[in-house]
């Protein structure tokens, strides 16, 4: 399966981008000449001629944010959190959904499916916002620590994605179990665990990979939306920015993931649009890469069928 996938150029390109981005995120301080902050811009006489934020034209390649932090390094730093958290959430969604669907399959009631179908049209960002805001209130009164907060937030994001997947998997498992070769296997005396392990899971495996990639994309989009709503993974702190005559509150992400960069600066969309557009572009590029991987997986499945 893996070898077949790696022969698909679309999958390979997407996969290499994601992997190299994560690797770069870990090793960039040791391989690049890192100057993370430029709060002021000086002329040849060492006179201050500008103050952060700087546009990509003034401070290539991506400019700086309000605090003079280079967006290139912010994005590289945040990549490991953003992509890894996304992959973990997507994995856990698939894992729990598969686990629950093995039990749900036995139930003939369509009640659960009807409830799930009804909730499919509620934007997941709204659901996540509703569940996460009380968490921040609790964290403000009884601080729970960043790691605990990240774990609870991830569980919420996992929980939101599981019910629709349970519905999908249950349907899929039902259709596999109705196949003639499964009845044939049962007619030989096979036990259910064996049939699931040897027949159902291998048939599901390629679809699992496809759904995993789709879940990763959904999670990335959700994180970007939550960033705009100032709901940041790992929590945030509010700092006052500007000069003494014009202080404005600003939200700063504690974990550094991409949505945090959007969340802390989305008010600057008109005056310093690059601060929003750079992390958004990386979101888009990551989604594009995962989509390439999905295309590769689908091509592999098609070639397997024919």
């Amino acid at each position: 399966m893996i070898v077949r996938l790696l022969k698909q150029p679309q999958f390979l390109i997407g996969f290499l981008f994601i992997v190299s981005f994560i690797l770069l995120s870990f090793i960039y301080p040791s391989v690049m000449d890192v100057q993370k902050e430029s709060k002021f811009l000086y002329d040849e006489n060492e006179v201050i001629v500008g103050i952060a934020p700087f546009s990509p034209k003034d401070m290539p390649p991506f400019g700086t944010d309000m605090n003079g932090k280079h967006l290139l390094y912010l994005v590289l730093e945040g990549a490991k959190y953003t992509i890894l958290i996304t992959l973990v959430i997507a994995f856990l969604r698939i894992f729990f959904a598969l686990f629950f669907s093995l039990f749900h399959r036995k139930s003939k009631s369509t009640f659960f499916d009807d409830i799930v179908q009804a909730t499919l049209y509620i934007p997941t960002a709204i659901l996540a916002y509703m569940f996460m805001v009380p968490l921040f209130v609790k964290d403000a009164t009884e601080p729970m620590g960043m790691m605990t907060l990240i774990v609870v937030q991830c569980l919420i994001l996992v929980g939101i994605g599981v019910p629709p997947l349970v519905s999908t998997f249950s349907e899929e498992i039902r259709s596999i179990l109705a196949k003639d070769y499964i009845v044939s296997t049962f007619s030989l005396g096979s036990k259910k665990p064996y049939v699931y392990y040897k027949h159902v899971l291998p048939e599901l495996s390629s679809k699992l990979l496809l759904l995993f990639a789709q879940q990763a994309i959904q999670t990335l989009i959700l994180l970007a939306h939550l960033g705009v709503l100032a709901v940041l993974i790992g929590g945030s702190k509010t700092v006052m920015m500007g000069d003494i005559f014009n202080l404005t509150p600003s939200t700063i992400s504690l974990s550094g993931e991409w949505a945090g960069i959007i969340g802390q600066s989305y008010q600057k969309l008109l005056t310093a649009p690059w601060i929003i557009l750079v992390p958004l572009s990386f979101f888009a590029f990551t989604i594009f890469s995962i989509n390439l991987m999905i295309q590769g997986i689908q091509n592999s499945l098609e070639s397997n069928k024919s």
């Binding site: 109705a178 003639d180 030989l188 005396g189 064996y194 291998p202």
Partner: protein, 326 residues
């Protein structure tokens, strides 16, 4: 003296629930003795396959045996737990399905699929499993078993796949083989090979065969006893000579009449429905199905299997009991 191996009594099988209940099989009774080949013959939808699946308790999720009994080797199948059934399936009763393409997992090597039954019922080391599988492949006519063992179903022809299914079915030497239209999807040259393999196994192991078919040619050559099914009921049963020489029910006559004859010159091929149910009669009794319509009225009469001569049963009903129901 052969002993009774399988006995089905007054079995009723229904699908669905509430107002959507559909009775697929009504009041079926049949028996198979050791070493006997029994044919269950009827058109598609007559309930043959459902009857055979109920013997293995493998009915689809919405189907159930409503009443009756299935006794195998003096054990009541319908009372057995799933665990007890797992010990019987493949080991004492096995099944050969009609669609060999769909009955094999396309993503698993055929050799591994042959060993599945052996894994459940015989505790063997892996190397021995492979050796047994190779021997089974040889028994079902493959001259290069080691090569076939590593093939995927898509690499084999229809006849080869059907032979793989036979190898799977006979792997644990079951006492009863249910062959559910094993030759339907095959061309005539392969059909004989497949049926001969089943017949050879039956003779070698003194096993019994329940042959489900709609082909009276197959019945004539391989069966000892015949049950004819129509609309979920048995309409006629008897030994193969009686059924061929003296068919009484018009549906049986229709099925036999459908076999093209080499002697008939220029005649139109007959259909089973060229034989009228409503008008045919036998000694004052009629053959019509329980509920039938005539001249825009719906009639109903309870029918029963009547022994018209020793061992020869025909489903009939008494005209005096006919009632108009609609």
């Amino acid at each position: 003296m052969s002993s009774r191996l399988l006995e089905i009594n007054n079995l009723n099988i229904a699908f669905g629930s509430g107002k959507n209940v559909f009775n697929a099989v009504t009041d079926i009774s049949l028996s198979i003795n050791s070493g006997q080949t029994v044919a269950l013959i009827g058109e598609s939808g007559s309930g043959k396959s459902v009857t055979s699946l109920s013997v293995l308790k493998l009915l689809p999720a919405n189907g159930r045996a409503e009443s009756g009994s299935i006794s195998f080797d003096d054990k009541e199948i319908l009372q057995m737990t799933e665990k007890e059934m797992q010990k019987i399936r493949g080991n004492e009763i096995s099944m050969i399905f009609q669609d060999a393409i769909a009955s094999l997992n396309p993503a698993m090597k055929v050799g591994v699929q042959i060993t599945e039954g052996l894994k459940y019922h015989k505790q063997m080391p892996k190397s021995e499993l492979r050796a047994v599988a190779l021997s089974l492949l040889e028994q079902v006519g493959f001259h290069n078993p080691a090569h076939i063992y590593d093939q995927y179903p898509s690499q084999l022809s229809g006849g080869m796949k059907q032979r793989i299914l036979i190898a799977m079915a006979i792997s644990c030497k079951p006492k009863l083989i249910i062959a559910d239209e094993p030759t339907t999807a095959l061309d005539v040259t392969i059909q004989r090979q497949v049926l001969d393999l089943i017949a050879d196994y039956k003779i070698r192991e003194d096993a019994s065969v329940l042959m489900i078919t709609h082909d009276f040619g197959v019945v004539a050559e391989y069966a000892d006893w015949v049950y004819v099914m129509f609309g979920g009921r048995i309409v006629e049963s008897g030994d193969v000579f009686t059924i061929f020489n003296n068919p009484i029910h018009p549906y049986t006559k229709g099925l036999i009449g459908c076999i093209p004859s080499l002697e008939s010159d220029g005649e139109r091929l007959k259909s089973v429905y060229d034989y009228s149910f409503e008008e045919a009669g036998y000694k004052g009794r009629k053959f019509a199905p329980e509920t039938y319509s005539m001249e825009s009225k719906v009639y109903h009469a309870p029918s029963s299997l009547i022994e018209v001569e020793p061992g020869h049963y025909v489903r009939l009903f008494d005209e005096s009991e006919v009632t108009i129901v609609g």
